[in-house]
Symmetry: C2
Subunit: 243 residues, 2 copies
């Protein structure tokens, strides 16, 4: 079973205060880049893996999705998602992505934001998603970028000119990474970019596009702290489809 850090009270208290949890989708600077990757969901069946408070889950329904299934490991998150949703076409379920099974060809879009790096068995997950998608269906997901995740001590340093610099080591050594983020020892699983891409392709997906999130000039003008995101990519966005 995946580590359920989101139901740790300290973690949950801190996490709930993040702009993207308080403000919803517009609190996430990568949201416009995600939107650009998403297909039209009108009348589609959507699954949202790692739905958290259900911000995107409800958004898909607002865009005309026929049904949206939101899944999350965290009881806290699902309780809050249910409380914030009043729509019979939106359902939520507590589930572990390590063992999740979805009905075959049951979905037209599988979406996931910043969740798959918590999953150890990525290949199993991707095979399951491929089977769960109808032909022509899309998989759009974001994960922490492996450049961001690889190092033993992932934090800003400075180069000899004093420029903000991100350290990379252990990039090719895949496996567990533990960091302190609202709680001690949050467990993530580092995979190289090649492993992520090759797993998709060898499962049968065709890659449509990838993005390494960087803020636009307008975003930096509004939130100057975002400028540091130009120095190294924190988030990887991938759009793939089942032919």
């Amino acid at each position: 079973m995946a580590q359920n850090i989101y139901d740790n009270p300290d973690f949950f208290a801190g996490y709930s205060q993040l702009p993207r949890q308080v403000q919803g989708l517009d609190g996430a600077p990568e949201w416009p880049a995600i939107r650009a990757l998403l297909p039209n969901v009108a009348d589609k069946r959507v699954a949202d893996l790692g739905c958290g408070f259900g911000w995107a889950t409800r958004w898909f329904r607002d865009q005309g999705a026929a049904t949206v299934l939101g899944l999350d490991l965290s009881k806290n998150m699902i309780q809050r998602a249910r409380a914030d949703t009043n729509d019979a076409a939106v359902t939520y379920r507590i589930t572990d992505l390590e063992t999740l099974e979805l009905p075959e060809s049951g979905f037209d879009l599988v979406y996931s934001a910043l969740t798959f790096h918590y999953v150890q068995d990525f290949e199993r997950l991707i095979r399951m998603i491929y089977a769960a998608l109808a032909h022509g269906g899309d998989l759009v997901f974001t994960i922490e970028h492996p450049i961001f995740m690889a190092a033993k001590h992932p934090h800003w340093t400075e180069d000899e000119d004093g420029r903000k610099t991100w350290p990379v080591n252990g990039y090719s050594i895949e496996g567990e990474r533990r960091t302190d983020w609202f709680a001690k020892g949050v467990l993530k699983h580092h995979r190289t970019l090649a492993t992520t891409i090759n797993t998709l392709i060898s499962t049968g997906f065709e890659l449509r596009r990838m993005e390494e999130f960087a803020p636009t000039a307008e975003q930096i003008a509004q939130i100057p702290d975002l400028a540091e995101e130009l120095e190294r990519p924190m988030i990887l966005l991938i759009s793939a489809y089942k032919n």
Copy 2:
């Protein structure tokens, strides 16, 4: 026109002493990984862009390629390649990849090793290669990995534990990078991984596989210095095809 650093006498003298230039393909630790990406070339028409001394150019012919065209900007390299080759099916030409045009559908495999990062207009190059490939044809190339190239001062540093660490900054800021390597101010062009992949896909290529070169345990046992290549990827390998 691309910077022709290879015909700078200091550069050429240093470069010619690299193991991969003295020993040929087996002097390049990524060669087994490249071979695994290459299609069977028996009776195929091959172009080798940035062929240098012609080590791979001749290897393709040894594997049964019908014809092999080796192209390089460096007069020194092409002279040496011609002197080392005695085969009417292998031809060499001095050419600038920034302006190169190849005959439409004239090739079954386009190969390039550690050259495309010298090219400024990657999109033009990829469109030209796509047109030059027959349907079913392959593009296999290696470039310096953008993690390796991005930083203003790309060199090993140490983290707080003394572990070898590679600095990343300016990752999302594409464009010129100048480094000193056998000569001052060698000019390369940094592109994000997303730009490289998306350019291939939007041109029409389908991605078959990518690798971020990491040495095997056997290679490290033979050449212990290679262990540092596990810390950050230096070379990106890509295999794509024209459907």
